[in-house]
Subunit: 492 residues, 2 copies
């Protein structure tokens, strides 16, 4: 096992080292696509469980729409095709045939199987879903439609990075249909709030909720909202988006409904999604130079028992006790692994479980067994706690609760320390030539000014925070009048 | 809502009518791909939950491998490419560009984005997974690898049918790696047994477990096992397969490990899968002329309350009581919907919930409320039960248990009545010119003879049952010697 690069030495290298050390994911032979390894996938499964339960509590149901989208569908919403045409996987043939090339037998697409219309692997599913909704929605009684889909999607990214930006990724995409603009906006904000809850209460990652500027809107939306977290290098990461699509897709796909008054109206739409990118956000929010740290609520396994012995007698003793503890803990925190590998010393095992982000490690030697005690190590703060076995269950659940809270508080403190209210362009450029961070500043709202800021400093408007108060001011760069502050940061 | 065709009139039409009436799925604009509607997807979610829990109990973990497979990978295992090359979706370009064709603006694949090597949408993932396992497996200490994947796959089927045969379908595919041939065989049979348990105890569908003949083996397997259910038209449906892959994929992808004795060996493999086809099996096992019937264990919602009223006073009374019952039932069976639509009569609602396969319907009118009682209707047998509200929870759970058992027993009885031991070719052809069914007959084991039987009668060997006893006999068609009976049927 190679060492993990320190964050202070090379943050990007550290990120990839943590992923490798914790065996979360790796690059696949297909450019830009990743293999999500079992340790990484278990985090995604936990995220899915929390979100799916919450979506259902909020009245949504799941469905599944086709992977492939006819080329003509994408073209129906003008902004939409512009947004996705440049990076898509195009299916053109449906059969391979064997041929001889330079004396070698190989397979090639069979020209006779060329498709009449090319198919696109979905980059997102608005088009195929709204084409379907046209058949499902006739009357106001058919509304609202509140559907979510768990799926893989594909965008042919040129510069990829494990979890953060990959050609194929896993996500959920909600697609709802409503009778009024107000209802659609309400749903958009409700799901934004759902993502905020998930990021903060489950992932222990504080986020800023706000509206995107027109320049950063989803292709086809009338308004896009996002949650933005701060990573340990002070860069922002967009962790989820919720879109008010107005009637754009209903018009493109001719989805009308009869109102209770008998008139005909186009339907109002929303869509919202989070993806495996969140695993990247999680890693960069909490992990340290020793490896992965994740909040217990998304750890599928919450504790490991490392038995320690010197001889066969000690081995039998501690393994028997370890199995007792395993049984004892199961009802409270699920399956607890006993790491009884006999080709590795305890110290090596400790380091390995730290790299892998196991929240709690229980060390158990013959002397501990004699004393009816064990050592309980908590991953996030590296503390060791001498713990009577009679208190073990409550100690473990108590430490897990504490860990969840402390990880959030630490992230909140880090964000507070690196969030600024700036008034002048000098302050602004100084911040981003230096440590970076979040900057709440006035901005004129002009797209050209926004672009110029990005070109000059690589800083973008992350969003216009929902809680930004009305306040007269002058644009941080051009000095034109502004009525509220927006959130600036460099971003992933 | 159109009527459902009777099974006796047109079984195939009935099948599609039930799917439409219960809103389970529909064809999509992409040929051969289906939209799985919320009612259908909820069944798949229930199936996933049962299987996933069981896989994990058996020591498996989930992971995710790329959707796209380089063409050259498929070609590495000779039988494998032969099995899948004729029906696959081939990605050749990564960008669309706008062009003018006949004066109209349209998008076409950008020739400049042509891929160096074509990519295939996975028809199954052995190749990409074994290419990855080469990196993960070095020593006997790395074995076994017990991984499952939940994914979409694609096979360019020419004749498609909702759930039973679609170009894209959802499935799980287990891919395990072992140190010995014995261990791999043990895993293959363990997962076959897992599928048998799932089919019989959860789906209430009796199945025959057995080995496929060489002709019906998975492309690249040394032995394929299947579970075969009997549908209501007496045809067989292959509901799950488990493959012993021997060292075929390890050799194709050069996956070797160091044994504990220090020698080097190729790794032994298995793979196993079930798919959304099971939803088709479920429909055809239990449903009737009134619509969908499913066993309660895969019904996400197990009961609905239909309140009945004539005036506003009655409405308030029954709705208040309905909410009470809803709360009362929640801990036992989860969310229970109250169908309080005011534009539809109770009788229509009853018929709709029957079509949709709701296991239990609770009818509640003002007189019932006054008597502290309700009418409880069970979907599978159409019975109505006057039930005191004080007994409601235990009555509901009792009826659900009974329904699960009775559905299995009815299917078992149906299969027994339509299963035969035949000795002569005359009996055989008479059976399949008539009602069809399962026939246990002797067969010589010759592939040409097997093919001839299919050509002449459309009947195939479904499998060689695991519990077939040694018994000397003569091939049902050619009279050559045989040592055990095999299972014949017409199949989906």
């Amino acid at each position: 096992m190679a060492d993990i690069t320190k964050r202070s030495v090379d943050y990007s290298r550290w990120y990839l080292d943590v992923i490798q050390a914790a065996e979360l994911a790796e690059n696949s032979p297909v450019r830009g696509c990743m293999v999500i390894r079992p340790n990484g996938y278990s985090i995604w499964e936990m995220m899915q469980r929390w979100l799916d339960d919450r979506f259902k509590e909020l009245g949504h149901v799941n469905a599944y729409f086709p992977l492939l989208i006819p080329k003509s569908f994408l073209a129906k919403e003008a902004q939409h095709v512009e947004g996705f045409a440049k990076e898509c996987a195009i299916v053109t043939h449906s059969r391979l045939k064997t041929v001889e090339v330079d004396g070698k037998i190989t397979v090639v697409p069979d020209p006779a199987s060329k498709l009449e219309e090319e198919l696109i692997i979905r980059p997102t599913s608005e088009t195929v879903i709204w084409d379907t909704y046209r058949k499902w929605i006739q009357s106001y009684r058919d509304l609202p439609v509140l559907i979510n889909q768990w799926a893989n999607v594909m965008r042919w990214e040129m510069r990829t990075r494990l979890f953060l930006r990959t050609a194929e990724f896993l996500w959920q995409e909600g697609h709802t249909a409503h009778a009024t603009a107000e209802e659609a906006r309400e749903e958009t904000l409700k799901m934004l709030e759902c993502y905020r809850w998930f990021a903060e209460d489950i992932l222990a990652m504080p986020v800023v909720c706000g509206a995107k500027t027109p320049r950063e809107r989803f292709a086809g939306a009338v308004e896009t909202f996002s949650i933005e977290g701060m990573m340990q290098d002070n860069k922002a990461l967009q962790a989820g988006t919720s879109h008010d699509l107005g009637q754009n897709f209903a018009k493109a796909f001719e989805v009308k409904y009869q109102t209770s008054e008998g008139t005909e109206e186009f339907v109002w739409a929303t869509s919202w999604g989070v993806s495996t990118r969140l695993i990247g956000a999680l890693i960069m929010s909490h992990s340290d130079d020793a490896g992965l740290v994740i909040p217990p609520k998304v750890a599928q396994r919450k504790a490991v028992i490392v038995p320690i012995w010197r001889d066969d007698e000690g081995r039998d003793l501690v393994l028997a006790k370890a199995k007792e503890l395993q049984e004892m803990l199961k009802p409270a925190i699920g399956f607890v692994q006993i790491d009884d590998r006999d080709n590795m010393r305890p110290g090596w095992k400790y380091a390995e479980w730290e790299r892998k982000g196991m929240p709690i490690r229980i060390e158990l030697g013959p002397r501990d067994v004699a004393n009816d005690a064990c050592v309980l190590a908590t991953r996030h703060d590296g503390q060791k706690h001498q713990t009577p076995l009679s208190d073990l269950v409550s100690a473990v659940t108590g430490h897990l609760d504490r860990m969840q809270t402390e990880l959030y508080e630490a992230a909140l403190k880090r964000r507070a320390e690196n969030t600024h209210r700036l008034e002048t362009w000098e302050e602004f450029t100084a911040l981003y030539e230096g440590p970076g961070g979040f900057a709440h500043c006035h901005h004129c709202g002009d797209t050209a000014c926004e672009e110029a800021i990005q070109t000059e400093t690589k800083v973008t408007i992350r969003n216009i925070p929902l809680d930004a108060e009305a306040e007269d001011g002058q644009c941080i760069r051009c000095g034109k009048p502004s009525s509220k502050r927006v959130l600036f940061a460099q971003a992933y």
